[in-house]
Structure formats: C-alpha cells, structure tokens
C-alpha cells in the first residue's frame, strides 16, 4: 500500500492493538491499582522532583559565589562547590544518613547511630505517613536528605572564599558534613531531644542554614580577612566580577527552594505543598524589597548584590516555618530578613569579619531569625523553645567548627600565603585560569 494510506492507518491500528492487549490483560486478572498505591507513587514522584530541585541549588551556590568574588579565584570556587557535592553525598551514604535518623538513640535524645552504609536492600522499602499511605521509598528518603546535607556544607565555601587553603577546606567539610551536621540534625529531624521539646524547624533554617552559618563564622574568624579588605579603619570593597552569574545563582537557589521547602512537606499533599510554595515565594519577594529598600536608603543607589542577598535572606527566613505561618506572616518575615541581611553585611564588615558573599548574613543571621520567627508568627510554637534550639545549635556547631578549623590551622594551616592570594587561587591551587584567553586586568 502506498505511504499516505499506511500513515493514516497507523494511529487507528495502534489503538486497536492496545485495546486488544488491554482486554487480554484484564482477562488475566491484572492487579487493580488502589487509591493508596497511586498516592504513594504521586508522593514519591514529587519527593524525587524535590530532590533534583534541591540538587540544582549547588549550581546556584557555585554561580552566586563566582559572581560575587574575583575572577582570579573562580576555578577554586567552582572546584570547592563541585567537591562538596561529592563529599556530601558520599559521606551521607556511609555515615550521615544513619547518624541523622538513627531510629534508636544510644544516648537518649542526643546520640544514636544505626550503622555504616545505607544498605543493599532495605527491610521496609515504603515509608508511610500518619494515615498509612506511602509517602516515599527508602531510597528517595536517603537521596532527598543527602542533597540537604551537601547544601549545609556548601554554605561555608562562600564565606571562606579567596583565601582558604583547598585541602584544609576539603578536610574540614568532610568532617563537618559527615559528623556534625547529621549528629545535631538528629536532635530535631531524627526525633531527638529538641523534637521532643517541641522545637520546630520545617525545612532547616536552623538545621541546615545556621549549621552552615556557624561553621562559616568559625572559619571567617580563624582565617582572617582578605588582604587589603580592611586598611586601618577603612573598609575597602572588593567587587564581585560577574553580576550576571551572581543573579543566575540567586535565581537557581530560589528555584531549588521550591524543592527545599516543598519537599520538606514529605508528601505531595496538595494543600500543604502549594501553601508552602506561596509562603516561600512571597518571603523571597519581600526579602528583595526589604534589602533593596534598605540598601537604597543607606547607599543612595540600589545595590544588585544586596537585592539578590535579600531574596535569599527571605528564603532562609521562611524555611523554618513555611508551613505554619500565615501568608501575611511570610511577607513580614521576608521583609525583615531583607533588612537584616543588609544591616548585618555592614555590621560584619565593621567587626572586621570578612565575608565575600554575605553567607553569614544570609544563612546565619536569617537562619536564626527564621527559627525565632516561628515562635513569633505561629501561635502553636513557643518562642522560648525556638530560642533554646537556636542556642543549642549555636553553641555546638560553632564550637565544633572552631575546634576543627583551629586544629587544621595549627597543623597544616588553613590560609594560602600572601603571594598566592595576590596572584589568585586559580593559579596557586589549581594551576589553571577560569577565563583563559581573556585578559582580566583587575587584581
């Protein structure tokens, strides 16, 4: 038969074949798909989508940090961000997951470990929600949480950028993300003592952002500022070299946050997930307004990097309570976070704590704010309990990070030498340029 007839027959023929096959299958007594089984698939699928959304935040961090630092250090920034994903995922598989969710606590509420390795075939593949409907598989649970672990580690890389020694940073990250992050995380998400107390952190303002932030603070203190940043009592700005990349980074992070917060619902519950999308985005928007407004007033002209930090500040701020605060609450939280980020960038500079990308202001300050805000904006949660949680994480994480950085400092050193810092870490640590072929004249 000629071609056009064959084409016209193609679709009806296929449909006929499917109909026949379907009837044959039904005749064999193929299993019915129950509502619960379908819900399990939908829930798990959403969680996997959320997983790769959180994953893309690593590209967001990489580009944001690159944009806000100097070209001569770009390869180093990108390498650190690449390595951290590897370190985060692998250590979480070996230790982190079972340290964060031990099941049983050997020291009640404080420490538990259910063994090395995430196993070959889990006893219970399906993790069920309160009503017995499956919400995700064991593997989904692992990989979703693993992506979170890696993001906590990467917060430090921006704050210590442009002068930290690569191998010291990698060693620090390995220890911190393998041991400290999951251990303190077990206190709340692993059903430890803070969870029992009623402390609330929906998606990790404290458990992820401030855990990263406290470590960043320890690093910044022990490293010291970049050469030439503070001259006498003057603060010399060191400009980021690529605003487009910084902007791309901030928006990739916002995109990832749909998964970060949306996935923390731990199911595809339509009302909850969609509500969280709303509070999350409104907080980001309000953060932009708050930061832009304050920086416009103080600096006389609106600073793009502050606006971008503002979006992220709002996002970090809403992360603790995106599911429990009101729409109005999320706007106010975001607005205040935006103001806080601008003020704290300037305050840290006056304290001679050099943070090239504003990581301390976004993640530490707004992580604390977001956690406390749950106590303010949600009637069901106590401000005091939130404060106790903030303090517990603060003391533990800061001291732990300080000790690790300090030991590295007095043994192998944590900072590159002055000559390398001037030439750039790309050449010093990596022997390559980020922009080979371009002549970039600023040092």
């Amino acid at each position: 038969m000629n071609r056009s007839i064959a084409k016209k027959m193609c679709l009806p023929l296929t449909m006929a074949m499917v109909a026949v096959a379907g009837t044959a299958m039904a005749a064999e007594g193929a299993a019915e798909i129950t509502g619960a089984a379908a819900a399990y698939v939908v829930n798990n699928t959403w969680m996997l989508v959320a997983t790769f959304l959180v994953f893309i935040m690593h590209l967001g961090f990489a580009t944001l940090e690159t944009g806000l630092t100097r070209a001569k250090n770009t390869v180093n920034i990108l390498f650190k961000n690449t390595a951290i994903v590897a370190i985060g995922l692998l250590t979480y598989a070996v230790i982190g997951f079972n340290l964060m969710y031990p099941g049983d606590f050997s020291i009640p509420g404080i420490f538990g470990f259910s063994g090395f390795g995430i196993g070959v075939s889990p006893e219970n593949m399906m993790v069920a929600g309160k009503d017995g409907v499956g919400i995700y598989t064991y593997w989904t649970d692992f990989i979703f949480q693993a992506m979170f672990a890696a993001t906590a580690a990467t917060i430090v890389s921006g704050a210590v950028a442009e002068r930290v020694k690569l191998h010291s940073f990698l060693i620090f990250s390995m220890i911190y993300v393998a041991l400290v992050y999951p251990w303190v995380g077990s206190w709340k998400w692993g059903k430890g003592w803070l969870d029992a107390m009623g402390f609330y952190d929906f998606a990790g303002s404290t458990l992820v952002h401030s855990v990263g932030g406290w470590a960043a603070l320890a690093g910044v203190i022990l490293l010291g500022p970049r050469l030439g940043k503070y001259v006498g009592n003057t603060i010399k700005p060191i400009m980021g070299h690529n605003m487009p990349l910084a902007t791309i980074g901030a928006f990739l992070l916002w995109l990832g946050w749909f998964g970060f917060n949306g996935g923390s619902v731990l199911s595809a519950d339509p009302a909850l997930v969609s509500f969280v999308f709303v509070t999350t985005s409104l907080a980001a928007a309000a953060g932009i307004v708050g930061a832009s407004g304050l920086s416009w007033m103080i600096q006389k002209k609106p600073d793009l990097s502050m606006a971008l930090n503002g979006a992220l500040a709002g996002l970090v701020g809403i992360t603790a309570g995106a599911d429990v605060v009101s729409v109005m609450g999320s706007v106010v939280i975001g607005l205040i976070a935006g103001g806080l980020v601008v003020a704290s960038v300037m305050i840290f500079d006056r304290l001679k704590l050099d943070d090239p990308v504003g990581a301390l202001s976004v993640h530490l300050v707004c992580g604390i704010w977001g956690t406390l805000a749950v106590g303010i904006f949600s009637a069901a949660h106590s401000f005091t309990t939130q404060l106790i949680g903030v303090a517990a994480y603060g003391v533990t994480c800061f001291v732990a990070a300080f000790i690790i950085f300090y030991l590295l400092k007095v043994t192998i050193g944590i900072r590159v030498d002055a000559e390398e810092e001037m030439k750039g870490l790309d050449v010093g640590e990596h022997g390559m340029e980020a922009y080979a072929g371009f002549e970039i004249k600023n040092v």
């Binding site: 603060i235 010399k236 400009m239 600096q299 002209k301 960038v345 500079d349 504003g358």
Partner: protein, 112 residues
C-alpha cells in the same frame, strides 16, 4: 612623520573613526585604557563600603600621519569628540623616526 595619540571618551570612538575616514586617514590603533587628569574621582558604595572611582575608562587612539596632516587631524579630532564636559581627554603629538610596512617592505612616507 608624526604619531598622534588621542585619549578620548569611549563612546566617541565611532564618531572619530568616521571623521578620520572623511579626511583621508586610513588607519589607526585603538587600546582600552583607564586614566584621570585634573578631574577628581567620585565616591560610590559597594555593599556598604565606600570607594573612590579615580580611574575612568577611556580609549587611546594612535594615528601616524605625514607631518603636513597633523594640524588637520588634531583639529578634526577635537571638533568630533569634544563634549565640553570634564574628562574629554588629551591629544599628544610625537615624532616618528621611521616606519616599515611589514607585508611589502615599504618604508617611511610610502608606509603611512
């Protein structure tokens, strides 16, 4: 033979190029530079920290011409790029010892 070095505002380069073509100047070399003269810098703020912008981006145009052409070229440049506002730039005229066109081996006047 003279070399004319003109430091001008970058957005005036296209106008200068067109004006040179009109008076018969057939080539030039252009470099991106930064500089300042008597104009003071101004203060900007980046992430809360003040800094003084003293080096302003400029373009340096180098043209080699026969000595007879110098006045015409200089006047044309001035007429084309002058805005009357601070930072218009400067023109320097330097002597040239010799010239060689690499492809043909022509020298001096023939190489202009």
């Amino acid at each position: 033979m003279k070399k004319i070095e003109a430091i001008i505002k970058p957005f005036k380069l296209d106008d200068l190029k067109a004006a040179m073509a009109e008076i018969g100047v057939q080539g030039m070399t252009v470099t991106e530079v930064k500089g300042f003269g008597r104009q003071k810098g101004h203060t900007e703020v980046y992430r809360g920290a003040e800094y003084v912008v003293d080096f302003i981006p400029k373009v340096k145009v180098e043209i080699v011409v026969a000595t007879e052409m110098v006045d015409k070229v200089v006047n044309t440049i001035v007429a084309t790029v002058k805005t009357g506002k601070i930072g218009d730039g400067k023109i320097f005229v330097l002597p040239v010892d010799s010239i060689c066109r690499i492809r043909t081996g022509e020298t001096d006047k023939e190489a202009i």
